[in-house]
């Protein structure tokens, strides 16, 4: 591939992201169109922003890569990533919006009235965020390595640099519109090339054709206990893990009320469903035309290489540039969303909450995962993100679900549950990667969510029951705030109604 494509795409996306961040909201308004109602973010915008922040390297590159290696089974990932929002819609979106807590630690403190619970939650949120940034940086490293041939650290370093600079200088603060832009960029970057590719393939003529008799998917494996367990566990991780992702929850505060939060989530479900069609097509075509990638060790590069491989010449170069740009948008948006929410948590709980502390925390939030990403090498983006989901599902999810829906939750119960989930899930992931390939325990340890999530819930409930006297005094008030719909806002514009 022409290295110039990589450079050009990288620079353009970085500059555009920064420019929108800085100038996106510098639109002056006069009194005539001052109405604050018009300033609130419409659910469509907000949903696009959530989509933009949520669709990470794992979605953009990882799913196609996984389909190339393992075929139809990989489709559980997009299903899980999307269906997690159903859980968010049903159980968390509206009450959390009403709670008035801006971060998960804020929620823990307000619900449990305990600073210990707050600190434990903060630490877990920071761990989750760090390990969620690492695969993004791996994705960036892979993209740069594949498209320009530069060493891995350049890609990851570029993402960290752009994100830290924009966050520290304040450019990423009004982030909603930037993120919304990123969603549509990512969708375009995947959709346009694949449309051209499909046109080429169906056009017959001189272009590449799918060889007759090709099996697009290998015949599915026989269903046995092992595969059922793996799928079940993966789905539990993805469904419950989405509930606790810090950068996604923050987005809901941009909704004016709980009802709008629900509407937003519904739109997000639609947007994600549309998006995931495209990586799937890339994966299937990758199996046909680039089978060598699976053996070459970087199946995640399928999306990047496919347009160049199937459409030659300038057209291929341009489409490749578009895909690379989309991939960078994915890394930048997810990373910046995570860095902003992590910096908020770190500066609040460790650095006293000043503005300078926020900047320092932003650097800390980005540099630590950069170090991790440089010292490690992830082999399957979708898989390692799946593990982060499993960890979130075992730690933060019990706190949120029980905190919102069960009056009996106490601070001791929440802390015990979170620590149990963290220790069990962390240990399982570490031990699982040690296991021999044919060990019978391997499945149980590499997909731990099916047993760590129930364990965390049970410990939380049992300890809460045992410490009934520790229920917080303002419980009733807080629960009312969570579950009673907001009082209707004053009429938006009485004049129009009167006349």
């Amino acid at each position: 591939m022409n290295p110039a494509i990589g450079y050009a795409a990288l620079i353009v996306v970085s500059v555009v992201t920064a420019v929108i961040g800085f100038y996106g909201l510098r639109v002056s308004r006069t009194t005539s169109d001052f109405y604050v109602a018009s300033r609130t973010v419409k659910p469509w915008w907000n949903a696009s922003a959530i989509g933009g922040e949520y669709l990470s390297a794992a979605s953009f590159l990882g799913i196609a890569g996984l389909i190339v290696i393992s075929g139809i089974d990989a489709l559980w990932f997009p299903i899980g990533y999307t269906a997690g929002y159903l859980m968010l819609l049903f159980f968390v979106a509206a009450p959390l919006r009403r709670s008035g807590a801006y971060t998960i630690p804020d929620f823990a403190e307000a619900r449990l009235e305990s600073s210990t619970a707050r600190y434990v939650t903060s630490i877990l949120v920071v761990i989750v965020g760090w390990f969620y940034i690492v695969p993004q940086l791996h994705g960036a490293a892979l993209t740069i390595r594949t498209t320009t041939g530069l060493p891995s650290w350049v890609g990851a370093g570029a993402v960290v640099l752009v994100v830290v600079l924009t966050v520290v200088t304040g450019g990423m603060r009004s982030i909603t519109f930037v993120q919304a832009f990123q969603y549509w960029l990512k969708l375009t970057a995947l959709a346009v090339p694949i449309i051209f590719i499909l046109l080429t393939l169906s056009g017959g003529g001189s272009g590449p054709i799918i060889p007759a008799g090709t099996e697009l998917f290998p015949p599915p494996e026989a269903i046995d206990g092992g595969s059922t367990y793996r799928t079940l566990s993966l789905l539990i991780a993805l469904l419950f893990g989405t509930l606790g992702l810090p950068h996604v929850l923050v987005r809901f505060y941009t909704n004016p009320d709980g009802a709008a939060a629900r509407r937003t989530t519904l739109i997000v479900l639609g947007l994600l469903s549309i998006f995931y069609i495209f990586p799937t097509i890339y994966g299937v075509l990758g199996r046909v035309f680039l089978p060598s990638l699976a053996e070459g060790g970087s199946p995640d590069a399928t999306v990047l290489l496919l347009p160049g491989a199937l459409i030659g010449g300038l057209g291929g170069d341009l489409l490749s540039a578009l895909v690379v740009a989309g991939a960078f948008a994915a890394f930048l948006s997810t990373t910046s969303g995570l860095v902003v929410s992590l910096a908020g948590v770190i500066s609040q709980d460790l650095l006293g909450g000043s503005v300078r502390g926020f900047r320092l925390a932003a650097v800390l939030a980005a540099v630590v995962p950069f170090g991790f990403a440089m010292m490690t090498d992830s082999l399957a983006l979708a898989g390692s993100v799946g593990l982060v989901f499993a960890f979130t599902a075992s730690t933060i999810c019990p706190l949120l679900l029980l905190g919102i829906w069960w009056r009996g939750l106490t601070d001791a119960g929440a802390v015990a549950g979170m620590l149990t989930g963290a220790v069990l899930c962390g240990a399982a992931i570490l031990a699982g990667s040690r296991m021999g390939m044919d060990s019978p325990w391997r499945d149980v340890l590499t997909q731990p969510a099916a047993w760590t999530v129930p364990a965390a819930f049970i410990v939380t409930i049992v300890v809460s029951k045992a410490t009934k006297h520790r229920r917080s005094a303002s419980l009733s008030r807080f629960m009312t705030k969570l579950h009673v719909p907001e009082r209707p806002l004053a009429q938006e514009n009485p004049r129009s109604q009167a006349s």
Partner: protein, 436 residues
């Protein structure tokens, strides 16, 4: 490092091609490579070691050392009991705290039973041996009634029926009770009572001292309660009022439109009604930034009727912060200040810029005008309350912000004569205690 991981994958996918997909899925490529694992394990070990060292160090440093003579020990013990009891009396005379305090005070006096009452009922009874069981509240109140009414220390002899009523054994040797009233502002609000074999002068005096000490604690509680009340009253008194000038000016401006542009006059009256409905509302000391901005919008529409093209407004609000909770009517006075003192006196057009930004854990709102500005020294006097100038609105908002969020969150004002004014207000986004 990265090549190491890749090599590992090559090894796996080098398997015979036929079963490739099946094998790979049942044994997914290791999600964490050897190096990751090593690193994570190393970090875990280091963290664990640090925790152990810290724990041991903490135990060693906090272990008891020999301190002073026996007499000093007795003093320390007495002071410790007193301090612990004082802690429990933070909330005044209420049963849970009184019981815990009674346990401390009984060890201090070394008596068989220690009781604490308020002016109506027995609050706490702590006793050992024969006096361990808590008696009926009425019986105790009967014994302390005299001390409560005349406010002096009483020594009561416990005769047989009284001992029985108190739940003591008939042959118990606890023959005397010392009752000392607790006084706040020379008014008896309760009593402490101890039971003993014989009321020695020393014991009576010690009981008196304890009662005096408890009384002092209760006075402190009363003091802090009245301080809270004062603060609340101050916030209520500071709750901004809509300015009479504004009502007068608006009505005049509206009047000027009634003949020339009746529709506009009607719109303005509706705006005025909405504005007053918001400003006169009685409930709640807090509102959201969005509602406050809506109020400012109405205010500016009305001012615009008077100023016409002279007043220009630019607005830059991050949608993320619209739901931030802020004190009721804390922004509108700032905008009014900018319009009335900044732009009214200025010749030609004036611009008011309002912006709200997301600063992580805080929301920053700035209000800037390019009007006449003011002398910083004079502004300092106004804010310190030593100058009853025209900028009372500023001082009012400033003191309310300080009351609610602490001294770090007052207004920051940059100004100079002829250089306009920039007012910055920073409030925390997360305020679990304040409901809009």
């Amino acid at each position: 490092m990265s090549t190491l991981g890749l090599a590992a994958v090559n090894g796996i996918v080098g398997a015979p091609n036929g079963d490739l997909a099946a094998i790979l899925y049942s044994m997914p490529t290791p999600l964490l490579s050897e190096s990751t694992l090593l690193l994570i394990t190393a970090i875990a070990v280091v963290v664990a070691a640090a925790a152990v060292v810290a724990a041991v160090g903490f135990r060693l440093s906090s272990s008891h050392r020999e301190l002073g003579t026996e007499a000093e020990h007795a003093t320390f013990a007495a002071l410790h009991s007193a301090a612990a009891a004082g802690e429990q009396l933070r909330d005044g005379l209420e049963p849970a705290g009184a019981l815990k305090a009674s346990k401390q005070l009984r060890t201090l006096l070394n008596c068989a039973a220690f009781a604490m009452t308020d002016d109506a009922a027995l609050l706490a009874w702590d006793g050992t041996g024969a006096a361990a069981r808590q008696p009926e509240s009425d019986v105790v109140m009967g014994i302390v009634a005299r001390a409560l009414s005349n406010g002096r220390t009483q020594v009561a002899n416990l005769d047989q029926p009284l001992r029985k009523a108190l739940g003591l054994a008939p042959d118990s040797d606890l023959k005397a009770a010392v009752i000392c009233p607790l006084k706040v502002d020379s008014r008896a609000v309760g009593c402490v009572m101890i039971l003993s074999k014989s009321p020695t002068a020393g014991l009576v005096r010690a009981t008196n001292e304890v009662a005096a000490w408890v009384s002092a604690q209760l006075e402190l509680v009363e003091l802090s309660a009245s301080r809270t009340l004062l603060a609340e009253a101050e916030v209520r008194a500071l709750r901004a009022q809509i300015s009479p000038h504004f009502i007068y000016n608006s009505l005049n401006a509206i009047a000027s439109f009634i003949n020339t542009d009746p529709q506009r006059a009607r719109d303005l009256v509706v705006e005025f009604a909405d504005f007053t409905r918001y400003s006169f509302r009685r409930h709640g000391d807090f509102t959201t930034l969005a509602e406050e901005l809506r109020c400012i919008d109405r205010y500016l529409l009305l001012e615009n009727a008077r100023f016409g093209d002279r007043l220009q407004v630019s607005l830059q609000i991050a949608p993320e912060v619209l739901s931030t909770v802020i004190p009721f009517l804390s922004l509108q006075p700032l905008v009014e200040n900018a319009v009335r003192h900044g732009l009214e006196a200025k010749v030609g057009k004036g611009l008011v810029q309002i912006s709200a930004r997301d600063l992580g854990a805080y929301t920053e709102v700035t209000i800037e005008d390019d009007g006449v500005g003011m002398d910083p020294e004079q502004l300092r006097l106004v804010l310190a309350g030593r100058h009853d100038g025209t900028h009372v609105g500023l001082r009012n908002v400033d003191s309310r912000l300080r009351q609610v969020y602490g001294d770090d969150h007052g207004l920051t004002i940059d100004t100079g004569v002829g250089h306009g004014m920039l007012i910055t207000m920073t409030v925390p986004k997360n305020q679990p205690g304040n409901d809009a």
